[in-house]
Amino acid sequence: MSDAPALPRLLPCGDAAVSIEFGTGIDPAVSTRVLALDAALNAANVPGLIETVPTYRSLMVHFDPLVLDYQALELRVRALAGTLDATPRPGRRWQVPVVYGGSFGIDLEATAEGHGLSPAELIERHSAAIYRVYMIGFMPGFTYLGGLDPSIATPRRADPRPMTPAGVVSIGGIQALIGGQAMPSGWHILGRTPVRTFMAGREPAFLMAPGDEVVFAPTDAARWDALDRAAGAGEPVAELLSA
């Protein structure tokens, strides 16, 4: 089932942060507990708590050590962790258009070949899954997904690319990713989406949140320009299938 222990492990990160770890792996049950503690801590309005950052299996709490006493925080976390409602509930589901292959997905063919698949078969396996958003991290809007078909898991590239464009849809190991903006990357780029997971000045600036679900819709390259223009004008372009 799940490797989520009843109570989390607290790992101090210097004097102004602590990582509250619920497990070791990528697991929806662990993630659900992380998000439940995240919500509970933020609802508790703890003085001196600066912000919380949910990740795959842990919650990082940044705090002011001159205002918030660590032992008090620890007691609070343990009390909250004992009463968490960790029932997984369906989040929002986003349908994200992806143009696969060609100049949009420069690693599609090689990755398919590596798995003994045709590019079309790889696209089918990548777009058949229902992914869970585990975290938004690294740089603005980078959306880390779990739920990749294990048969297409691919170790990261030995030589990371110095730059990849915004909106890349890529895989690395057993993880999948929607890139937020142009960044170096060692992941395998299968396609690209016009969706801006982050856009300054748009309301909301960030579309997705941990706990949401994502499905990919293979999209014809001929539609790229129109979709990209719409996304650039502030439209989400990602379709909300359920809320």
Binding site: L11, P12, C13, G14, D15, A16, A17, S19, E21, T24, G25, I26, I50, E51, T52, V53, P54, T55, Y56, R57, S58, L59, M60, H62, D64, P65, L66, V67, Y70, M135, I136, G137, F138, M139, P140, G141, F142, Y144, G180, Q181, F198, A200, A205, F206, P210
Partner: protein, 338 residues
């Protein structure tokens, strides 16, 4: 409207306030002044609250002028000289610059980051709640980028008011190792690896900027757990050790999450001293317990408050604290370290 007009600036000059908080959950790093106490001092000297945005210089200085009115300025942080109309201004002293007068900020003679604060701050719209420029993503700042010749920064105050202020020579930062709390992933390193980390000198490489400092030195050995973790959060001052065994200290413009194990975290009280070290400096690390790090933070905060309590109108050697309170100099700075 009074403006500061940039005539020249080093390549990494940017607007920075106390940082952008609440957005790390979306991947947006905190940015903010590399040396927060130095930002607070510059602001104090012009009568601002400690977290108001100032111009952050990195090693190189710059030149600017006031247009449309006069402005009150102060410089703090790394050792650099401020000149108005060609005349040097005493260290840690605010000064009024009149329309058209040349403001020259020298390169740092020692240290790395320094701050030019202006009374009242800028009327520039914040991005996600902060004016701090996150250099790699272009969030914040003026037009989402570093400052360059021709930029015009509008000021909130048309004219400065109140006395120019001065602080005495600041207490010298105690030399000694950079103190760290081990973890959160010290279990990903062998005993030999931990010893290498704590017993060796590491040189700050040329790859050092607002995002972090890559260090050169002996390779730090991982334990059999290896150098990949399931990505988790990164604190400011977190020290990652990737597969090559060389540490990377993550700073204000850091990524919010990462997949390399973090051997230790620099304590908050030593971050200002760390960021003022230049490439080529040799760092030594010493481990302290978490609770000890909090005691050190409290002592540093007390010392900082005692120091800023000595602010005086420039040119007046001594005023008693009642007079000081009557001119309301201290009110804005009591939360300087928060």
């Amino acid at each position: 409207m009074t403006e500061l007009v940039i005539e020249s600036a080093g390549p990494a000059t940017s607007l920075q306030d106390a940082g952008r908080f609440g957005w790390q959950r979306y991947g947006v790093g905190p940015a903010g002044a590399m040396d927060r106490p130095a930002l607070a001092l510059a602001n104090l000297l012009v009568g601002n609250a400690p977290e108001v945005a100032a111009i952050e210089f990195a090693l190189a200085g710059g030149r600017l002028r006031a247009a449309g009115g006069s402005a009150r300025l102060a410089l703090a942080g790394a050792d650099a000289i401020l000149k108005i109309g060609g005349r040097p201004v005493a260290a840690l002293t605010s000064v009024t610059v009149h329309e058209g007068e040349a403001v020259e900020i020298g390169a740092a003679r020692a240290g790395a980051y320094f701050y030019l604060a202006v009374a009242g701050g800028f009327t520039i719209a914040p991005s996600l709640g902060s004016l701090s420029l996150h250099h790699r993503t272009g969030i914040g700042g003026s037009q989402g980028r570093t400052l360059r010749a021709g930029d015009r920064l509008p000021l909130r105050l048309p004219e400065p008011s109140g006395p120019e202020l001065a602080l005495p020579e600041p207490p010298q930062a105690a030399p000694g190792p950079i103190r760290v709390v081990l973890g959160p992933q010290d279990d990903h390193f062998s005993d030999a690896g931990i010893s290498t980390f704590l017993d060796s000198g590491f040189t700050i490489s040329g790859q050092a900027d607002r995002m972090g400092m890559r260090l050169d030195g002996p390779r730090i050995e991982h334990s059999p757990k290896g150098y990949n973790i399931v990505s988790d959060g990164i604190p400011t001052g977190g020290i990652q050790v990737p597969g090559n065994g060389l540490p990377l200290i993550l700073l204000a413009d850091r990524q919010t999450t990462g997949g390399y194990p973090k051997i230790a975290t620099v304590i908050g009280a030593d971050l200002p001293r760390l960021v003022q070290c230049r490439p080529g400096s040799v760092l030594q690390f010493a481990a302290v317990e978490r609770a000890e790090a909090v005691r050190i933070a409290r002592a540093a905060d007390d010392a900082f408050r005692a120091f800023i309590g000595r602010v005086r109108p420039a040119g007046l050697a001594a005023l008693d604290s009642r007079e000081l309170l009557s001119v309301n100099l201290i009110g804005g700075v009591v939360d300087a370290r928060h």
